[in-house]
Subunit: 223 residues, 2 copies
Amino acid sequence: MTVEPLGNEEPALPLRERKKLRTRRVLADTALRMFLERGFDETTLEDLVNTVEVSVRTFFRYYSSKEEVAMAAEGELWEAYAAEVARLRISGPVLPRLRDCYAHAVRGLSEDWAERYLATRRLAARTPALRVHHAGTTQDLHERLVGMLEDELGIDGREDVRLRLIGEMALASVRYGTKNWMRTREHRGGSDDTETLITEVGRAFDALPSALALSPDTLARSG
Amino acid sequence: MTVEPLGNEEPALPLRERKKLRTRRVLADTALRMFLERGFDETTLEDLVNTVEVSVRTFFRYYSSKEEVAMAAEGELWEAYAAEVARLRISGPVLPRLRDCYAHAVRGLSEDWAERYLATRRLAARTPALRVHHAGTTQDLHERLVGMLEDELGIDGREDVRLRLIGEMALASVRYGTKNWMRTREHRGGSDDTETLITEVGRAFDALPSALALSPDTLARSG
DNA sequence: TGTATTTTGCCAGTGACTGGCAGATTGGCC
DNA sequence: GGCCAATCTGCCAGTCACTGGCAAAATACA
């Protein structure tokens, strides 16, 4: 493998684990770069594994599909977000807690994550297959989050849809916050991407109640 | 093709068109039946086209993927829904209009649609590939609906997210209304499925404002 | 009945993905 | 350092979804 070491991180892990982590990372980075350069559909899996110098069989031991390796950065975010919500003990309003979980999750990711994520989402925006994959993983995340919250709060979703609606709101906030973040980064490559993303998503979260309250004429049941 | 005529419908259409419509329909019906019996992954496309007695090449002139033919009933619904919203001229509250569009769309579908749709959703519930496809088409529908509404209302989504939130609300209502409908039909095969579906989705629509209003403690920004 | 247009079937190919098995690499133990 | 067990990797052969091209069949229309 033509890879230089990634520097000092987790010297506690055994060699084998570090090597696996590195392969996983190189696969995702190389895939993202190649997909951005040549296009997702135009780049075959064989192109990728030849570049990284692993076999096709090995690739599928790290990622379950071509789409998954392309969206690896988003996968990291969803995992971190779900992990934050999993360790949540709730008392009080749910929505701001979900907002904080998102912020914590993003801050816990590696330093260059934001840049990779921006590139990932730009790629997905112009690749139908990745948009579908994105929609699927987002839906799965929603199910996981709501399921965990229902367990934690002892709520039966069959009878009370409010929690599910809050889940939709939270995901909508993440969606539109991220969309705005991408827009701000559209014409200028800025630093401090991570905090900007958190700010934008947090803004979308905070704007939710007022946005809903501000449109009684459009939201109200009958005028 | 071992197919009996479907009876008296649209005698105005030329023979060729009727034949195409019938092939399209037989493909979807047969696919749904085979997928339900043997499972989606276990049924190959070749199994399907052998049963219907068309070539693989012909299949792909009617449906763009194995997933699409499985979800054909949902595709009809999305098309009808989008068409209703397209012809909408808005003055007043948006959400109830979207609810009515949905009801009109469902009522305009063929008589046995509800049964096929129920079977389709049950199949999707146990088939990961179809859940992903469902998430993708739902996302696409959302984009289409919001785009049309923005054009109609002259709203720029970059500045005003409220319309997009209303779109999310509408789709959430359709989701949970449909889920409840599936639940009511779970243990008893009932007739009048179409009106029951409309009722359930309408109930979800109508419950939205109160559901949001009823949970100030969980929705409010800070207590 | 003849002709133009559309639809279909066949063929050969690409590319994503998988199971099985042999060989290489690593971790733990002496 | 050397050895065994566990794990990881690469190769092979195969399945299946999906596609372009071209010739044959079916249909519309005169």
